[in-house]
Amino acid sequence: MPYNPALVAPMREEMTHMGARELITAGEVDSTLGDQRGTLLVFINSVCGCAAGNARPALRLALQHGVKPQQVVTVFAGQDLDATARARQYFAEYQPSSPSMALLRDGEVVHFVHRHQIEGRSPQSIAADLTAAFDRHFGAAV
């Protein structure tokens, strides 16, 4: 069952304030991830404490880096159920977890950050891994 919208509103706003576009429906996911071109980061948002304390702050830090994805989109696990399920179909090779992040280039997942790589780590440490992945996979495209 989805969470109270009022509860998750600040968690959504934190994402949009850093430039992420919310994908609320499966159709919006398909229109973004289907035949995707360029570089894209998909953030699987969550009410989990490690989303608030670790993952979202880490992404905000990482997006200050010179090399970054051309687009950042987000779906909210436990809230936008259809959109989240559809997004996960685009990286079905990876076990679902939230929060998590998928980095795509021309429709191919080139890097994935699982929840276990987020939990208990500082935002700075996660951001360092993210920016290294941006440099490695997105460097030539930006």
Binding site: G49, E93, Y94, Q95, P96, F112, H114, H116, G120
Partner: protein, 95 residues
């Protein structure tokens, strides 16, 4: 992050994905909940069985790290006298 408690008021590993070694052939990878007199309670647990696996334990753990943990148990209690070591998955991978 030595000394860091991920969820204040809980045990240090609470909410963290760990590798739990046992006296037997099985190694468990899952999210630590709590450790009490009965043993260690884990969620969303993948299992490596050295007597049955077609891959090495190192390869199993590497795949868990890269692709995530494929859970065989939603909830699992590993008996206290079976547990020999508990480490964070990310620490095992980076070692």
């Amino acid at each position: 992050m030595s000394g860091h408690v991920f969820h204040p008021g809980h045990q240090a590993f609470h909410g963290v994905t760990v590798v739990l070694e046992t006296r037997g052939p099985r190694t468990y990878v899952g999210r630590f909940d709590v450790q009490d007199e009965r043993g260690v309670h884990l969620h969303d647990v993948g299992v490596y069985d050295a007597t049955a696996a077609g891959m090495s334990k190192a390869e199993f753990l590497r795949r868990c790290d890269r692709f995530g943990i494929r859970p065989e148990h939603r909830d699992l209690l590993v008996a206290a006298d079976e547990v020999t070591e508990i480490r964070r998955l990310v620490d095992v991978i980076s070692a």
